[in-house]
Amino acid sequence: MIEIVDLGKHYQLKSLFGKAGTVKALDGVSFKLEKGRALGIVGESGCGKSTLAKTLLGLEKRTFGDILIDGKSIDELKPQDRHKTIQMVFQDPYSSLNPRKKCWQLIAEPLLINTKLKTNEIREKVDSVMALVGLRPEHAERYPHMMSGGQRQRIGIARALVLDPKVLILDEPVSALDVSIQAQVLNLLIKLQDELKLTYLFISHDLSVVNHLCDQIAVMYLGKVVEMGPRKQIFEEAVHPYTKALLTSCPSLDPKTQHTPLKGELPSPLNPPEGCAFHKRCPIAVDQCHKTRPELKKVHGRFTACHEVH
């Protein structure tokens, strides 16, 4: 349905003395997103997941690569059609809603900009999508600050759904919410996906949430995908050393297993290491890892980019 082919986004940093360096926020990412499925994108800061979201939405122009929707390049779509295809639910329910606008105005805005519907038609659509996400009619006239975090996030979801998109990008949609509210919003997202046959790109750092909702998982590090495959395989039989480190460091409810935390820190994206971007922190790095960048290849039923995995 959506195919990302070798997508890349480089930012050129300028300084007084000319080019100061390149930040390779996204450096050649490829994957397929099938209709009705949920792909989880997992990674830490600087891995490129936000840049991926922005590039897909069209907020950033890609530097190279292509985005194909049903086989056709996304550039062939008119902006309005693009917006009607892909929408996003943002992370922060506090800053992602304009504090000066009422709930219904916030949800109606995409319709005002992208369609020629009359006011009463718009109001009807807003009402129906509000009901869909569990907001009551009396919420329509309220301002965001009068509503709870969970309700605000529902407004964000309603706003993303109002153009009837096919693909929804969810950028950490529950991270800013309390645990008991996270469950409610996750349940809503699953219900909506099933009812409306949506395709999800679910970005999160919370592995237990991703494990609960997504059938496929892609792990990113410094702008590249390092492991990608079906959920169960990634969770229970991860092979890439970074994925393994990520899984062991995620605190679960069971007692801690003895392990050494992953050493070092994320390298500066301005100066990524030669060869494999992970080699300086990798517990199993060998000589080859310093020299050549590993390609994504199919191993044990999933894709991995690691020299040491066969």
Binding site: I181, S208, L246, S249, C250, L253, P261, L262, L266
Partner: protein, 323 residues
Amino acid sequence: MALLEVKNLSITFDTKKGPITPVRDISFVIEKGQSLGVVGESGCGKSLTNLALMGLLPDNATVKAEKMSFDGNDLKSLSNNEWQKIRGNRMSMIFQDPMTSLNPSFTVGYQIEETLKLHRSELNKVQRKKRLLELFDMVGIPDPARRLSQYPHEMSGGMNQRVMIAMSMACDPELLIADEPTTALDVTIQDQILNLLLDLQKQTGMALILVTHDLGVVAQNTSKLQVMYAGEIVETGDTQSLIHSPRHPYTRGLLNSHAGHGHPFRSPLPSISGLVPDLFHRPKGCQFKPRCDIAVKECELEQPQMIDCVRCLKVTGSLGGQQ
């Protein structure tokens, strides 16, 4: 003698809308070398309690407590001078966002040295420098000599948090309060920092209060757990026992709604209906009753007391009068 003893602590704020009591009658005890996890959602009062313990509440806050003592010293009646001797010295605190807790205008070395100058005035410049290098080594900052003269913005979040920890360890505190220390950090860095805190605890024998909303973090890093709701402690106990056999309906609900709690793929997660109470208009009786799945009429008439480490009339069998 316990290291920290708190009995019936209440914090009241005087606001334009009237008085508000975000923390009500909480009592707990920390022994030397113990690690206590404090868990609760936003607005439960966990951070305010920490500030009260450190004497850092604003002027419009009134702290009432039957007992609040650190190593036998009564914290309620300390003068500013006496607070200075304890705060930063025997009791330290680290905060959530290292980027805003450190002063951006001074080097990190200078900031830690300030603490030493204040509490270890017997050290001279050379001895202080030595201690700074020791501290950086202890918290795992590589290349310490160079790092000492760096500014906070030149280092990553994880590094800055290590600096915060170094600053709080500078005077060998007996109690370290960590308020959401890893919430703003990536998961692999969080792992490093939590490991560091536990190592330091083992090395120095200090007690640790770890405050967070993340159940996984307390499950793996604390031995005793305390669950807070609407300014009250609703359940305490040994961490793993509490997590695997919660008794209070709120604790149960919280653990159940956790996505990692063994729920089938994409099944609806159980959640706690309703919202936290408006602290200006607290419900009568049990604060959790409006959202509780096992509540009965009596729960809104009587305020439950902490009995046998649980604050719940039904669970402790105290319906129809306290035992």
